[in-house]
């Protein structure tokens, strides 16, 4: 009897806290599912069975003594394998760091552990968090739980697959241009890229210090709100993290959405949309209308330059971090990843600084133009559903830049601006692959995004649909 693996995080946490379900029983079921699905999905890079079970036993003992632990007591989570754990191997999905042991524990992981969460293992990911596809030449490709011929999206591929396959109740991912939102959309789970500076980056493998964010992938919006409430907030180990007070996001979920305003972009985001994704987005709009949310049309500033200067700045930072290895170990990178990092070596410093300097101007313009008219934008997270692996150019050839741009066209401008964005599944294509919408808000408006996303999930059932692979 492992039906509880299909429950959401909040419901399961209540069962554990009330003693109706032991953390050991839950963790054992989670490990069994991880092992059973590993040959099919390849979600995990490492599975820490003994450690997780020992921690679960400890949680059960503490609960039996009447100790109050935290809102994630006994909940099995696993995370993209780039959150450092002091003295433990964190591969970053790479050959180069296959034996790397961090000298610190990520603040996000420490906070989750303090709330009682269990660490089940390190999840598959695109090498060094580069790439929206989910392939990995070193640890094997990760596969989509809804159809294993299709990509789960990246770079937080294992996070999307492990949550969608009901193996774990939530997983942290990282997002520099869409790496939480893309696998969330392709795998049919919820994912949030928080406001830049909302979550500490301490102990997170760097790709681009200007754009890196971490956040949760979960089955429901409320689950994501619970995890975000735990990991968000200032951290003295990351001086760039915001000092702003963190809202109780779960309480925000319960608030009324009637009379909130949702903006539908009249340009860019709905261009070149797959017809099935378009249909599902139209149905999403109807749901929000039924919820008495006001729908308004909004012209958004041009994203064309933003996309390009974002890529230039990201590559400049990534190539600075990787320069030593690009010279000494070029053959230890996958071809696509190496190409996307190394082009930063050929840009003048002035281009890089221009991209960062203009960020303030673009952000102010965006907030003035867009968020003076609405509380949040409603866009497709991606213009398509998950493609098949065999249809993708994953070798770093001529077609690669266009492929990357197509998959991340709706996510990367938001990373440049540093705005929060919540991806929520909104139905399935005729081939049974998930589609998703993205809610984008002004800085630090995560609470409003959770409120809107939760209201949508309360009115729909998509998040309760379970992939065939675990039925």
């Amino acid at each position: 009897m492992t039906d509880f693996l299909n429950f959401d995080l909040c419901r399961t946490a209540n069962l554990v806290s009330s003693g109706e379900l032991s953390a050991v029983e839950l963790t054992t079921a989670s490990i069994n599912r991880a092992e059973a699905l590993q040959p099919k999905l390849n979600s995990f890079i490492s599975l820490e069975k003994d450690e997780a079970l020992e921690a679960a036993e400890n949680i059960d003992k503490r609960l039996q003594k009447g100790e109050r632990i935290g809102s994630l007591a006994g909940i099995p989570l696993a995370h993209k394998d780039m959150f450092y754990r002091n003295g433990k191997v964190t591969t970053c999905g790479s050959k180069i760091r296959s034996k790397f042991k961090g000298d610190r524990t990520s603040t996000a992981l420490s906070r989750l552990e303090k709330a009682g969460a269990l660490y089940l293992g390190g999840l598959n990911m695109s090498e060094f968090a580069v790439g929206p596809i989910g392939n990995n030449v070193h640890y094997g490709d990760c596969f989509n739980p809804w159809n294993q011929e299709h990509t789960p999206g990246g770079s937080s591929s294992g996070s999307g697959a492990a949550v969608a396959s009901r193996t774990v109740y939530g997983a942290l991912g990282s997002d520099t241009g869409g790496s939480i939102r893309i696998p969330s959309a392709m795998c049919g789970v919820v994912g949030i890229k928080p406001t830049q500076t909302r979550v500490s980056r301490f102990g997170l493998m760097p790709l681009s210090f200007s754009f890196d964010c971490s956040g949760p992938l979960t089955r429901t919006v409320r689950d994501a709100a619970r995890i975000m409430h735990i990991i968000a907030g200032h951290d003295r180990n990351d001086p760039t993290s915001s000092q702003r007070k963190v809202q109780d996001y779960e309480t925000e979920c319960k608030k009324e959405v009637a009379s909130m305003r949702l903006g539908i972009p009249s340009n860019y985001f709905y261009d070149d949309l797959d017809t099935e994704v378009d249909r599902l987005l139209q149905e999403t709009r109807k749901i929000f209308k039924d919820l008495k949310v006001e729908i308004v049309s909004v012209d958004v500033p041009s994203h064309d330059y933003i996309n390009l200067i974002w890529a230039a700045a990201l590559a400049a930072e990534a190539s600075t971090i990787h320069r030593k290895w690009l010279r000494e170990r070029p053959n230890d990178y996958g071809p696509m990843v190496k190409r996307r990092i190394e082009f930063g070596l050929y840009q003048p410093a002035t281009r890089y600084l221009e991209a960062l300097t203009l960020r303030e101007k673009y952000l102010r313009n965006y907030c003035d133009t867009v968020f003076s008219k609405c509380d949040a934008l409603l866009t497709p997270t991606m213009p398509v559903v998950a493609p098949r692996y065999q249809d993708l150019d994953v070798g770093g050839g001529e077609g690669m830049p266009a492929l990357v741009l197509m998959l991340s066209r709706n996510t990367r401008p938001i990373s440049y601006l540093g705005l929060p964005a919540l991806s929520v599944p909104c139905g399935f294509s005729s081939k049974g692959l998930p589609a998703a919408f993205q809610l984008i808000g002004r800085p630090f408006s995560e609470g409003k995004l959770f409120r809107l996303g939760n209201a949508y999930q309360n009115a729909t059932e998509w998040h309760n649909t379970i992939p065939e692979i675990v039925k």
């Binding site: 406001t195 830049q196 500076t197 760039t240 915001s242 702003r244 007070k245 809202q247 064309d304 330059y305 390009l308 200067i309 890529a311 230039a312 320069r323 690009l326 010279r327 070029p330 190409r339 190394e342 082009f343 070596l345 050929y346 840009q347 002035t350 281009r351 600084l353 221009e354 991209a355 960062l356 300097t357 203009l358 960020r359 303030e360 101007k361 952000l363 102010r364 907030c367 770093g396 050839g397 001529e398 830049p401 540093g418 808000g441 002004r442 800085p443 630090f444 408006s445 995560e446 609470g447 409003k448």
Partner: protein, 70 residues
Amino acid sequence: MSAITSDFIKLVASIWHRFSLENEEAETLTNMLAPMDDAGEQVSSSIGFDLEPSDYSQALEELGDEEELG
């Protein structure tokens, strides 16, 4: 139009970064860089004299959702 060429990229690789590039690799990188170079050229004229990257952090806080502050 960007004037970046694969010969230029090969030169930068050897002089600034001390490694050599194959022709095909340099060609691919040139094609990736060209649109970014063009975009950078287009936007660079809009940079104000007194602006600097850290202005962004301040803007992020200033423009933040007021409801969150309670």
